[in-house]
């Protein structure tokens, strides 16, 4: 009876999740483009798509490498800044509530809005150029988005500005809910603020830090809107990420079989990375259960 009762929901969920996934896998084995007919008529070309992707498609491989680079840099900066802000806000400071609300605002903005805002900020004659000019004491006109390294920098800055509040929020919630007894005990024993933070608070925050990294990691690997709006992956392909590449292949070129194969490769890589990333939590849970 129990099985019968849950069956409709299970079937619905399977239909909504498993079927599209399997279809995507199947399509990735074909050379399907809608211009050639329907997907079920497409010729199976396996393993051509996968071999092309991993051996011949430099644009894809560069996009993967670039996305990983952006992810590592962004996650590191967001973590450090988020932690700094969280520690600051966890203390007794004036205007804490207002400051918290202000600092959370970027996270509430739509990525496309953030992208367009920074697109305007990073114009050659935009405010950031003016600010640099003022700081350096000479009229500054920096080609932010036309210079490959600066364009990548611009994207990282945008992404960090947008998502640091998420780290801050998660870490702040962790800091404010830490058990106080170990901290008080350390204080009584004469530990400095830094020692308490480094040896007590930070280790206790580890599971939350891992969760924050995993959540943001899964997001940043899908980075699309800001790049699309600010540079469209340019100059050339120098800021192209996995998502902008996939968008072009899937919805610009409509090479859906190939795009499905690329998406599958990315999925596998992501799952492996996230699985490894979650290892500390798994180990801890296993230890606690054991």
């Amino acid at each position: 009876v129990a099985l019968l009762l849950i069956a409709p929901v299970q079937i619905l969920l399977l239909t909504l999740t498993v079927f599209p996934f399997l279809l995507s896998i199947y399509v990735s084995l074909t050379g399907w483009q809608p211009q050639f007919g329907d997907w079920w008529q497409a010729e199976i070309t396996f393993p051509k798509n996968y071999i092309d992707l991993l051996t011949a498609d430099k644009r894809f491989l560069y996009a993967v490498a670039r996305t990983l680079l952006i992810s590592v840099v962004c996650l590191s900066l967001e973590f450090l800044l988020g932690l700094l802000l969280a520690v600051t806000l966890a203390g007794q400071i004036r205007g804490r509530k207002v400051l918290l609300s202000v600092l959370l605002t970027p996270m509430m903005m739509m990525p496309v809005v953030v992208g367009y805002t920074f697109f305007l900020l990073f114009q050659r004659q935009g405010p950031l150029s003016a600010l640099f000019g003022w700081a350096l004491g000479q009229p500054g006109q920096v080609d932010w988005l036309s210079t490959p390294s600066l364009a990548l920098f611009g994207i990282v800055v945008t992404e960090v500005w947008h998502w640091t509040p998420l780290f801050m929020l998660i870490l702040l919630s962790g800091l404010t809910s830490l058990p106080q007894n170990p901290i008080r005990a350390a204080m009584v024993l004469g530990a400095s603020r830094w020692q308490i933070f480094w040896h007590i608070e930070l280790p206790m925050l580890t599971p939350l830090i891992v969760v924050a990294f995993v959540i943001r990691g899964m997001e940043v690997i899908k980075l699309f809107d800001e790049v699309y709006v600010m540079t469209r992956g340019g100059p050339g392909t120098t800021t192209e990420t996995i998502s902008t590449y996939l968008q072009q292949v899937a919805f610009g070129d409509f090479r859906l079989g190939y795009a499905a194969a690329a998406a599958t490769v990315v999925l596998i890589v992501t799952v492996v990375v996230i699985y490894q990333g979650l290892r500390p939590i798994r180990n801890r849970v296993t230890t606690e259960r054991g």
Partner: protein, 525 residues
């Protein structure tokens, strides 16, 4: 067909204004309109015109309504629609690019009054129209009856079986693409063709005009300085070399003014490159669909683009059309190749600081093999297509024909929207002179006659993406021109092989015919 003839015959006395009210109602009944609809029409100020297919919604429509209207494209469209709609409650859903909504006002309601067929508009973001349409090709819903798409997308949508082959309809109902008093300016009239068949009705004169700042051009000091520096007069450029010199001249070291606001960005850079390639005497492909980019002419064209990048507004590396329009309006550029709507935008004081200080001019000339020709770009070019999955394909076709007909399109293009003048008659219309500018009326047809098409082939978006990314890289990252073009050629060869070389060859042969005759004649190969 016979039904159409009888409809025309019944409508004739009505057109001549010889009917009593009783006769009018009777005739309207024969035309497939109920007395109630007839009464509605009679009550409407547009009624006689609408009933005859010659809407008098505007001065343009009224001015051109005449006794021979029954033999016009709009009249035939109305007659066809009534025939298609008989006894049915039809609503046509149209997917249109964002910004086009105003173009339907008040025409859609007039159409409904005249035919009983309702119109529903569904907007797709301007740059996502192709994507949305292709998704429909996959899902095969009958959600949309008409897709208004850019000409670049037509081959893919045709191959995906989303849009109908309109050749028979065009032959039967004659939308006056290349005939009548106000044909579409050639070679724009063939921009809806793919592999010799008509899949779309062109409805947009998206030809690049050369906009120049006349205040700078006519300034005596500038003229003297220019003459001293280059030994030639500062005047509207007759050649690309002259134009390049002018861009160089007006580029200020302090960044306060740049010579040009011409496209270099991903998705747009090809519209600068393709005319340059033609100006150097090369088609994009040879007859076997092998790219000709790494020919000496191809390399020279790309090198010219790279060399003149320093005269462009620096942000052209990422700018699309909206940013280009605004940047020129800010007064930071001397010139820009752009669409006619650029004129409308920058003539509005709310948008522009250079109102009255710029004009469109004819594109420069190139000389190849002693043959001289002007060349500019026809890019985007919204066209009307009918869905293969439409529940009312004839009615949908009729509406497309009506909206693009000489009389109705004259109203359409005066609106703030996405369509620009494309028929000969548009350039004689006082309303269009008012909406654009006298200079555009004079120069628009010259540039239209010099316009070369986008890469209107299956996979057009794919060809364009690879080309524009590499041009963008050559212009801004120091990538050597030859390497960039080699990369494009390699990618294009793969695309062509994947899409079928023979199929692409056939399409390319058709597309070459959309090049102006003098450009075709001058090409080296």
């Amino acid at each position: 067909m016979s039904r159409s003839v009888s409809v025309e015959r019944n409508a004739q006395p009505l057109l001549k204004g010889k009917l009593s009210r009783r006769e009018l109602v009777t005739k309207l009944g024969l035309l497939g309109l109920s007395p109630a609809v007839g009464g509605l029409l009679a009550a409407s100020q547009y009624a006689p015109a609408a009933a005859t297919g010659a809407p008098a919604a505007t001065s343009a429509g009224a001015a051109t309504a005449s006794q021979d209207t029954q033999d016009s494209a709009d009249w035939r469209a109305i007659a066809l629609a009534k025939e298609a709609a008989q006894g049915q409650d039809i609503t046509l859903t149209i997917m249109h690019p964002s910004g086009a909504k105003a173009n339907f006002d008040p025409l859609a309601s007039q159409w409904t009054e005249a035919t009983g067929i309702k119109i529903e508009l569904a907007e797709a973001e301007l740059t996502k129209v192709f994507q949305r349409a292709m998704q429909e090709a996959i899902t095969k819903t009958s959600t949309f009856d008409i897709y208004i798409v850019d000409s670049l997308s037509v081959p893919d949508l045709a191959e995906a079986n989303l849009i109908a082959d309109l050749t028979e309809n065009i032959q039967t109902y004659n939308p006056e693409l290349s005939s009548g008093d106000s044909p579409i300016l050639p070679p724009m009239d063939v921009k809806g063709k793919y592999k010799g068949r008509d899949y779309a009705i062109p409805s947009d004169g998206d030809v690049y005009q050369l906009f120049l700042r006349t205040d700078l051009l006519q300034d005596p000091e500038n003229q003297a300085d220019f003459k001293a520096k280059y030994g030639m007069d500062l005047k509207p450029p007759e050649t690309f070399d002259e134009y390049n010199k002018q861009m160089e001249f007006f580029t200020r070291a302090d960044g306060s003014l740049y010579g040009g606001a011409n496209f270099r960005s991903v998705g747009y850079a090809h519209s600068t490159f393709l005319p340059l390639l033609a100006a150097h005497g090369r088609f994009l492909f040879d007859d076997d669909m092998h790219p000709q980019l790494t020919t000496p002419e191809g390399i020279a064209a790309a090198q010219e683009m790279v060399d003149t990048t320093k005269f462009q507004l620096p942000d052209m590396s990422t700018f699309g059309w909206a940013e280009q329009y605004s940047a020129f309006g800010s007064g930071r550029a001397y010139s820009a190749f752009s669409w006619p709507s650029f004129q409308k935008f920058n003539s509005n004081p709310n948008n522009s600081k250079v109102v009255g200080q710029f004009e469109p001019f004819a594109a420069p000339k190139a000389t190849v093999n002693d043959k001289s020709f002007r060349v500019t770009m026809y890019s985007v070019g919204w066209t009307w297509t009918v869905s293969n999955y439409s529940r009312a394909p004839l009615a949908a076709y009729a509406f497309a024909q009506w909206m693009t007909s000489p009389k109705i399109s004259e109203v359409v293009v005066t609106k703030e929207g996405v369509f620009d003048p494309f028929r000969q008659g548009h350039f004689n219309s006082p309303d269009i002179v008012k909406a654009y500018d006298q200079a555009f009326i004079e120069v628009g047809p010259v540039n239209a006659a010099a316009s070369i098409p986008d890469i209107i082939l299956r996979g057009g978006n794919e060809y364009v993406d690879v080309l524009t990314r590499n041009l963008n890289a050559a212009c801004y990252t120091g990538k050597p021109v030859e390497d960039a073009l080699k990369e494009v050629e390699a990618a294009w060869e793969q695309t062509t092989e994947r899409l079928g070389r023979d199929n692409q060859k056939t399409a390319w042969q058709g597309l070459k015919q959309a090049y102006p005759a003098d450009v075709q004649a001058a090409m080296i190969g």
